[in-house]
């Protein structure tokens, strides 16, 4: 009898713990969970915004994200900017900062070096492609015009930072796709030509940094088709490992293609990684897949864009992709993804022809919960 009571108490206690969490979980594999109710973007709903993350480490993870410019569904272009700081388990607070110093624009690009943000390029309200660049000082809350981009004016470029140098390249100017990269040195306020991108010229790609190497993937190429090649840039020599060939200094290394192009089985399921105008964020120490060889590794998460809401996880160490829980809010193109405090967020974007302000956070280690 006593055993029965103990058993009863245990069952009831367990059910209470589950119910009191306020999040009912659904059965499923640990594919990650999108939390949809993060404080929405503070400015008017929009797409084609630019962003940067301040105080990034060598892996692109910083402390404060800045999102601004872009355009609304009424084709109004913006120059306002907002900062996002994570609080609590699944939320952000926003604050409106100084409006961007340059003209209102869409499709600009951003990066951060040495505690300052840099935003430039894009398309203005008169559909001119732009080459100006501006520096944001968060301490002064002030924008300063810096040396213009020396390459052709363009939009939908990508940028990343390695060892206090910003690299900006690829993009489109209405006629031409680009593969050239230029590097900005804040200490001399000057640009120099970097090594041209190793893959197809493209627009609407995504870039990220890990271990002071720049990665560029996805996008749309000259044939107006989404491209499937994937490259990594390093300024220093990288020795070969179990998954990569040796890389020379200042070179682009070809990584596994993002479609099923090999005779091996690892890419048989690579059905819809290809896309353009997607969003991406990087998280370190993801513990999902415990028991599998990739547990605890740094991962990049790719979602949205022209391929819809499917989400893919890229294991940076092994150069392999696996599917994750699809993006749960309305799928967007031309959105923004960023990592702050090792937490991955997606905000703004174009959905059904309309700019949105919804913001979501991805929890790769959680079981999918359709109610949040």
């Amino acid at each position: 009898m006593k055993r029965f009571h103990i058993l009863l108490l245990s069952v009831v206690s367990l059910s209470v713990i589950i119910s009191s969490c306020g999040k009912s979980t659904v059965p499923g594999t640990q594919d990650g969970n999108w939390y949809r109710f993060v404080a929405p973007f503070q400015g008017p709903a929009r797409s084609h915004a630019a962003s940067f993350v301040l105080n990034p480490d060598g892996n692109g993870n910083g402390t404060t994200a800045y999102v601004g410019t872009g355009f609304s569904n009424r084709n109004t272009k913006f120059n306002d900017f907002y900062q996002a700081i994570p609080i609590g388990d699944s939320s952000l607070t926003w604050a409106q900062v100084a409006s961007f110093g340059g003209s209102s624009r869409s499709d600009a690009v951003g990066f951060a070096v040495g505690g300052k943000g840099y935003v430039g390029l894009g398309i203005d309200t008169a559909d001119n492609y732009l080459s100006d660049f501006w520096q944001y000082d968060s301490t002064l809350n002030q924008w300063t015009s810096i040396a213009p981009y020396p390459g052709n004016a363009r939009a939908n470029a990508v940028a990343f930072t390695i060892n206090n140098i910003g690299y900006v390249g690829t993009g489109y100017d209405g006629y031409n796709y680009y593969g050239d990269f230029w590097k900005y040195d804040p200490s001399s306020n000057s640009w120099g030509q970097s090594i041209t991108f190793g893959g197809f010229k493209r627009s609407g790609a995504v870039a990220f940094v890990y271990n002071n190497m720049g990665f560029v993937v996805t996008g749309i190429g000259e044939s107006n088709g989404v491209v499937n090649d994937f490259y990594r840039f390093s300024t220093t020599a990288v020795p070969a490992d179990a998954y990569h060939q040796a890389q020379l200094p200042n070179s682009w290394l070809h990584l596994n293609a993002i479609t099923n192009t090999s005779t091996a089985t690892f890419d048989d399921g690579y059905t819809n990684i290809q896309r353009s105008n997607a969003v991406l964020f990087v998280m370190s120490g993801v513990t999902s897949g415990l028991g599998s060889p990739d547990a605890g590794r740094p991962k990049a998460f790719l979602t949205c864009g022209t391929a819809g809401s499917s989400t893919w996880e890229y294991d940076i160490i092994s150069d392999l992709w696996t599917t994750r829980t699809s993006y749960e809010s309305q799928s967007v193109s031309y959105g923004v993804g960023f990592t702050i405090n090792n937490r991955g967020f997606v905000t703004t974007g174009l959905s059904g022809g309309t700019g949105v302000s919804a913001t979501s956070e991805f929890f790769p280690d959680q079981v999918y919960n359709q109610q949040d």
């Binding site: 009898m1 006593k2 009571h5 009863l8 108490l9 009831v12 206690s13 059910s15 209470v16 119910s19 009191s20 306020g22 404080a39 929405p40 503070q42 400015g43 008017p44 709903a45 306002d80 907002y82 700081i85 609080i87 939320s91 607070t93 926003w94 604050a95 409106q96 900062v97 100084a98 409006s99 110093g101 520096q135 301490t139 002064l140 809350n141 002030q142 924008w143 300063t144 015009s145 810096i146 040396a147 306020n189 302000s357």
Partner: protein, 126 residues
């Protein structure tokens, strides 16, 4: 002994039941408020070393933490608590007016009589 244990168990089960029931009610209430499009917004002035700013909570969750005057160049807080409240309320009015964006423009600041300096809209060239 058995009887006492039984009562304890029943009491515990009842507490659990009410906790669960309350949690369900809370969830349903939140859901119905969302379905009705109702949101609860609170604005409060905050004082920092920059001066006065404001915080806005939506549905009990922090949304905006604005320590300095939005939109202008420079990190300058509002001169008075009243100014901060005034601009915070303009931001709230924009949310509740279905504009959905509490963004504040220079025009908003001017309309609300916030004292601006020429340097607030200055652009700098390197």
């Amino acid at each position: 002994m058995h009887r006492r244990f039984l009562f304890l168990s029943i009491g515990f089960v009842l507490i659990i039941f009410y906790a669960f029931y309350f949690n369900q009610l809370k969830r349903e209430f939140n859901l119905s408020q969302k379905q009705k499009g109702l949101i609860f917004i609170k604005v409060k002035p905050i004082q920092t070393n920059l001066g006065w700013g404001y915080e806005i909570e939506v549905d009990g969750k922090p949304f905006i933490h604005q320590e300095f005057i939005p939109s202008i160049f420079g990190r300058r807080g509002f001169a008075t608590k009243e100014d901060a409240e005034l601009v915070g309320n303009r931001a709230v009015a924009k949310i509740t007016d279905s504009q959905m964006s509490p963004a504040i423009s220079i025009k908003d600041l001017e309309e609300l009589g916030i004292q601006l300096k020429p340097s607030d809209t200055l652009q700098i060239k390197k």
